[in-house]
C-alpha cells in the first residue's frame, strides 16, 4: 500500500441474504483512492455504489475480499472517526437548532463547550450559513439543510468526506450552486472526498477520478481519470474536454448495462 493511499479494496465482495435469496451487491471490487482525491461512484440504481460507500464507512460488512481505510480495517477507521458522512437526506435532528446539529458529533466526541462554539461558527461560515445557528431545520430550504449537514460532517475535521448522493433530491439550480461550493470547500480543506451520484455532469464536474459501476452483480466497469484541473467553474461544462469525458462515462454506463444482457 502506497504511503498516500487512503482506501484500498482488493477483490471485495458483498452478498446480502434476503428472503428472496442472496443478492450479490458487490463483486470483485478492486479500487485504490489516494489522499486528496475527489472520487465519484456513478452507475444505475442497484449497481452497489451506495453499498460500496457504506462498506468504506463500516455501515455494511463485506462478505469477502479485503478492504483497508487509512491502513486499517473500516471498523478501526470508524472508531478513530476517520470520515464525515453525508446522507442522501440532510438527516438533521429536528429538535436541535442548526448550531445544535453541528455540535452533535462534537458532543459525542467529548469536545468541551468553549471549543464547540468556535467550531460551529467556523463550519457554518465554511458552507455560507453564518447567522443561521439558532434556526431550526424546518426553517431552512432543502439546499440549506444539506449545507448544514455538510458543515456537521466537517465539524470534527475528519480527513475524509463520504457523500451519498447528497444533492440528489435538490433541483438543478441549487445543485449547480452547491457543486461549485463543494469544489471550493474541497480546494480549501484538501480532504479526500468519495462521492456517490447518478448524474454524469455532476460526476465529471466534481471529480478527479470517476468510477463507473454496473449492476447485478454490482461491480466496477471502468475507472476514468477526470483531468480537468483545479479551479473549475460551471463554464467548464461547455469545453470539449468536459464533453469528451462525459461521453466516455456515458458509453461506459451503456456498456456496463449491456454486459448483463
Amino acid at each position: 500500500m502506497a504511503e498516500n493511499t487512503v482506501i484500498q479494496c482488493n477483490n471485495l465482495d458483498l452478498t446480502f441474504e434476503t428472503n428472496d435469496g442472496p443478492v450479490h451487491a458487490l463483486k470483485g471490487i478492486d479500487l485504490t483512492i489516494d489522499q486528496g482525491e475527489f472520487v465519484s461512484f456513478i452507475g444505475p440504481s442497484g449497481c452497489g455504489k451506495t453499498t460500496l460507500l457504506r462498506v468504506i464507512a463500516d455501515l455494511e460488512k463485506p462478505t469477502g475480499g479485503d478492504i483497508q481505510v487509512n491502513g486499517m480495517s473500516p471498523e478501526e477507521a470508524r472508531m478513530k472517526r476517520a470520515y464525515g458522512y453525508v446522507f442522501q437526506a440532510a438527516a438533521l435532528y429536528p429538535w436541535r437548532t442548526i448550531g445544535g446539529n453541528i455540535s452533535l458529533p462534537l458532543e459525542v466526541m467529548g469536545i468541551p463547550k468553549s471549543e464547540r462554539e468556535a467550531l460551529i461558527k467556523k463550519n457554518l461560515e465554511l458552507v455560507n450559513l453564518d447567522g443561521f445557528e439558532k434556526k431550526f431545520p424546518w426553517q431552512l430550504s432543502g439546499g440549506m439543510q444539506q449545507r448544514a449537514s455538510i458543515a456537521r460532517s466537517l465539524s470534527f475535521d475528519p480527513d475524509m468526506l463520504l457523500m451519498d448522493e447528497p444533492f440528489g433530491a435538490l433541483d438543478e439550480i441549487v445543485r449547480d450552486y452547491l457543486n461549485e461550493q463543494l469544489l471550493e470547500l474541497w480546494a480549501k480543506t484538501k480532504k479526500t472526498v468519495v462521492f456517490v451520484t447518478h448524474s454524469i455532469p455532476e460526476a465529471v464536474f466534481l471529480s478527479t477520478k470517476i468510477v463507473v459501476m454496473s449492476p447485478r452483480p454490482g461491480r466496477i466497469h471502468e475507472i476514468i481519470d477526470c483531468d480537468l484541473g483545479d479551479n473549475r467553474t460551471l463554464d467548464i461544462r461547455e469545453t470539449p474536454r468536459f464533453i469528451e469525458i462525459a461521453h466516455q462515462v456515458r458509453e461506459g454506463l451503456k456498456l456496463g448495462h449491456a454486459d448483463e444482457h
Binding site: 455501515l59 429538535w95 431550526f136
Partner: protein
C-alpha cells in the same frame, strides 16, 4: 362555492370552540332532562295513586325533578349539590367534595408518577435488550387483560398484611393501570428514530448511552406526552377503584360507595361529575406541558 371567512380573536374562539361544544352540551342537558322525567315519573304516579289524588302533567314533571332520591337526578339538582359541597363547605369538612377530590387526586398523582416511571423503565429495557423484549412484552399485555376490580382488593389486602396502608396501595393500583400506555408508547417512541439518524450516530462511534440521550430520548418525547395523557386519565380510574374495596372513608370512590349504600344518587352523580372534571383538567395540564416542551424542541404547533 361557499366562501371561507378567516376569523380572528374572540370570534374565532366563539366559532371554532364555543358554538360546537356548547351545542353538544345543550343537547346532552336536554336529553338528560327528558330521561329524568321518564325515569322518575313511575315513582310519582305510584305516590299519587296511593294517595288517591289526580296528578297533572305539569305537576308530575316538576315533581320528577325534585325528588330526594331520584333514579336519575336532574342536572340542576346535581349542580346545587356540587355548589353546596364545594363552595358552602369548608375544605377540611368530611362533606366537602373538594376534600374528597383532593384525597383521590393525591393517590392519582402518586400512581401516575410511579406508572410513568415504571413504563419508561420497561420501555428502555425492552428497546435495549432482545431478551427483555421477548420475555416482558407478553406479561405486560397479560397484566392488562385481568380486570382491575379483581386485582384491587388483593393488592389492598396483601399490602395491608405487610403494614402498608393509606395512600400507597391506592397509588399502586393506579400505577398498575397507568404504566401500560406509557410502556407501549415509549417502546414505539424509542424505536422511532430513522435508520439514517441511527447510522449517523454509528459514524460518530457513539456509545449506547449517547445514542439514547441524544437520539432515542428526544425522538420519543412526543410519544411520551401522548401516552401520558392516556395514563393520567386511567390513573384517576385506578385511584377511584382502589377506594372501593377498602370501604375507604375519603375520596371520590368513597363518595360513590357511600352514595350507593344510602341511595344518594345526587351524591353519586356529583362525585362522577367531579371525577370527570378532574380527569379533563389533568389531561389538559399534561397537554399544555407537552405543547410547551415540544415547542421548545422546535416543533411547529
Amino acid at each position: 362555492m361557499p366562501m371561507s371567512i378567516k376569523r380572528e380573536g374572540f370570534a374565532a374562539i366563539l366559532h371554532d370552540r364555543l358554538i360546537p361544544i356548547g351545542t353538544v352540551l345543550l343537547a346532552i342537558f336536554a336529553l338528560w332532562y327528558v330521561f329524568t322525567v321518564v325515569l322518575n315519573a313511575p315513582f310519582e304516579r305510584d305516590q299519587a295513586e296511593r294517595a288517591g289524588v289526580e296528578i297533572s302533567t305539569s305537576e308530575l314533571i316538576s315533581k320528577t325533578m325534585a325528588q330526594k332520591r331520584p333514579i336519575l337526578p336532574a342536572p340542576h339538582q346535581v349542580a346545587v349539590e356540587i355548589w353546596e359541597t364545594t363552595v358552602e363547605k369548608k375544605i377540611t369538612s368530611k362533606r366537602s367534595l373538594i376534600y374528597h377530590t383532593w384525597v383521590t387526586l393525591s393517590s392519582t398523582l402518586l400512581g401516575f408518577a410511579l406508572g410513568t416511571g415504571l413504563g419508561i423503565l420497561l420501555a428502555v429495557g425492552i428497546v435495549h435488550s432482545k431478551v427483555l423484549d421477548k420475555s416482558l412484552m407478553p406479561w405486560i399485555i397479560t397484566s392488562q387483560t385481568i380486570p382491575i376490580l379483581a386485582i384491587a382488593p388483593m393488592v389492598i389486602v396483601v399490602l395491608n398484611a405487610i403494614g402498608i396502608s393509606g395512600l400507597l396501595p391506592k397509588a399502586i393500583i393506579s400505577m398498575y393501570l397507568s404504566f401500560f400506555p406509557v410502556a407501549v408508547g415509549m417502546v414505539k417512541g424509542l424505536r422511532s428514530p430513522e435508520v439514517m439518524h441511527l447510522d449517523l450516530m454509528r459514524t460518530y462511534n457513539a456509545n449506547r448511552s449517547q445514542v439514547f440521550w441524544k437520539l432515542r430520548w428526544p425522538a420519543s418525547v412526543p410519544f411520551l406526552f401522548t401516552s401520558m395523557k392516556v395514563a393520567v386519565a386511567i390513573s384517576l380510574v385506578g385511584a377511584i377503584v382502589g377506594e372501593l374495596p377498602t370501604g375507604a372513608s375519603a375520596g371520590l370512590g368513597a363518595r360513590l360507595l357511600s352514595g350507593s349504600y344510602y341511595g344518594q344518587t345526587i351524591q353519586i352523580w356529583s362525585a362522577l361529575i367531579a371525577a370527570a372534571v378532574l380527569a379533563a383538567l389533568l389531561v389538559m395540564v399534561i397537554d399544555l406541558i407537552g405543547r410547551s416542551v415540544t415547542r421548545r424542541m422546535g416543533v411547529v404547533a
